[in-house]
Symmetry: C2
Subunit: 398 residues, 2 copies
């Protein structure tokens, strides 16, 4: 232990040396200048130097009751690409307690058409480059980055361990089909609430989705009905083609995603189960879907059973309206019930009927995968001309 303390002291001395050197080289304030000092407590004080004044103002405006609570949450972001990186930046600027980043890709100049990464970071691992930028932006946030592919057996186990930590409350995914299936599997097993997002390969539509294991449809129950297919960029690149992307669409999707996370964590507004974005028409479909009782994932079915028991054991739903003002305790396995109060009876009915009352303009981009394809590594999705009614009928018959 004494040895460890000695090592720490030595390292700290080296940091001071380097900072002084850097200060001399860059003229004046140097290293200290680039990173702001840590802030012990979030304050509502209105000064130019307070990075939290505009966030704490949400309390005075009556939007958020306890903004400081954001520091007690950890969020994991899987896939630090066009949506994931902006998601991480927004959460960092909002002062989230801890961010866990998972990715195994490198920054390329070909990513410069999206927000966040800069040309001088080309060649660095995405998680490393992101951590560096984010730490500079807000040193109050704790970062934990993992430069690996979560879909291999060993990494999957480690990934499961990391997202089992107690203070982790939300889970976010990027734009990868196989990854999404793996995260879905992990979250069903852990009963971990998560959100996923996607952007279509033609760059002009996207969606976000909240998945509450046992309560709402998981990724294996039914992949998102709206928004086009995700494709494996690596395969495409070999063929000399790539998916299109726009910083606009990705920025909007990241914004909607983090907004949903903030609403969920800080308990304001209504949290959306599914929100689509059709950029061509400026059309934003919403919906909610119940889980599939015959879902292929046995953990999903298990979560459904547990959710049913919990609902049966809890007081009648009518009570929830009265309890709205009560502080919501975000504990694992506890909070799922609260979300029920944020979905109206009509919405639930619409989602479970044979043909939800979808607004005009929705186009279908996913077909329900066949049984064989509905596994982690075989998932392929193709564009479909089927009507929603046909799809829902299919789903029912599974």
């Amino acid at each position: 232990m004494a040895d460890m303390a000695g090592v720490v002291e030595q390292l700290q001395r080296r940091i001071r040396e380097l900072e002084e050197k850097l200060a001399r080289e860059t003229g004046g304030s140097g290293g200290g200048q680039t990173q702001r000092a840590r802030i012990e407590r979030m304050s509502p004080e209105v000064t130019d130097s307070n990075p939290y004044s505009r966030l704490m103002a949400l309390k005075r405006m009556g939007i958020v009751k306890d903004y400081e609570k954001i520091r007690t949450f950890a969020v994991a972001v899987v896939g630090v690409g066009g949506v994931g990186s902006v998601t991480a930046e927004m959460l960092t600027r909002c002062g989230i307690g801890k961010l866990l980043l998972f990715d195994y890709d490198k920054v390329e100049l070909a990513n410069m058409n999206r927000l966040f990464f800069q040309p001088h970071q080309a060649g660095l691992s995405k998680v490393q480059a992101a951590e560096h930028t984010l730490r500079n932006i807000n040193p109050d946030v704790q970062f934990e980055v993992h430069n690996y592919n979560i879909t291999t057996v060993d990494n999957f186990q480690h990934f499961m361990d990391r997202i089992s930590i107690r203070q982790l409350h939300v889970f976010i995914n990027g734009n990868f089909n196989v990854l999404t299936a793996v995260v879905d599997k992990a979250c069903n097993e852990l009963g971990q609430i998560w959100m996923e997002s996607g952007v279509s390969e033609n760059a002009v539509s996207g969606h976000i989705q909240l998945i509450v294991p046992g309560e709402s449809a998981c990724f294996a129950c039914a992949p998102p009905l709206v928004v086009a297919a995700n494709i494996d960029e690596k395969t495409l690149k070999r063929e000399g083609v790539c998916a299109a992307s726009l910083p606009t669409t990705m920025g909007v999707v990241a914004g909607l995603l983090v907004q949903n996370v903030l609403k969920y964590l800080l308990n304001f507004g209504s949290v959306s189960f599914y929100l689509g974005y059709n950029a061509m028409q400026d059309f934003f479909p919403t919906m909610a879907m119940k889980p599939n009782p015959q879902c292929d994932d046995r953990n999903c079915r298990k979560q459904q059973e547990e959710y049913k028991k919990k609902v049966a054991a809890s007081p009648k739903e009518d009570n929830f309206v009265e309890e709205e003002e009560e502080e919501i305790v975000h504990e694992e396995n506890d909070w799922g019930i609260e979300l029920v109060s944020e979905v109206s009876e009509e919405e639930l009915k619409a989602a479970s009927g044979p043909a939800p009352d979808l607004p005009e303009g929705i186009t279908l981009a996913y077909t329900i995968p066949d049984k064989e394809q509905n596994s982690i590594d075989g998932a392929t999705v193709t564009e479909s001309e089927e009507s929603l009614e046909e799809l829902m009928a299919k789903m029912k018959s599974i």
Copy 2:
């Protein structure tokens, strides 16, 4: 013990960071490393080093006919704050031809809850800091920055000169009421198409609006009906309070704004005249409004007359549906007519009747200003409980 190991790891990481920084500052590659080489022609080639591959892919996907055309456009951004800075970054990453930035504010740590600026830029002028970052991101874009307040008499004249340049096609505004009125005045005089955006002081709603002088309502005809009031931050700060803001809401609004700009410039999808964002409900109202024939701005009335003449002289509207495939020439005074084809008869009817068929959930945040207040420097807006019918009746009676 595990904690100690974490601390050591963190310190080691910091040392690596400092060493890298020092290497950049002192040795070899230095400044040149941070900036990529200019690219003469946009190429669709799929390589890791091509920053335009994902944008040029929009052509192969059938979304945009001629993406390269983006280099022929100039866009002016007035107000480089939470929305304006992200707007500028998105346009830069998309490879816009030229960006003109107008602002007179300095970067503060209090801005760090929004995207784009970083703590080490605190104290720099916003336009200067923005230009530095954006030039690094994409050296192919031409930048012209003006660190002044456009509302003073001298600066207004200079500003008018700058936005009169021939290749300027769209005009964007930030979140300032007085500025918006000034830009409105300038654009009415010049017949300059522009877009404005705003975010409410409680941070949970926003909007974007396209204004085509003579064809759609200008800011003096009727300020946006949806979304709460803008307030003068300088006044507020003196009183120890400030407006709330969120990187999510501002990111979404900037994304929707630039998406609308791209759709307009590159001729894809349908361009929205008005698109609101209610973050609490995930609700996105759209509408279109005809100009007020009794508008206080005489240049607006003049543009209305000219637009009427143009419509009367042009072929019947029915023809526009057939001409959809024709390439649209974006020349001043020419293109306004094309936009008509993007608004359905129903929408126009709804917008001009006494009570447009607004979707459920719209709340009114603006009252129509009194005649005295409807001047450039006296505009104050207050929250209102009036119904839309009452407001429309008022508007008619002005």
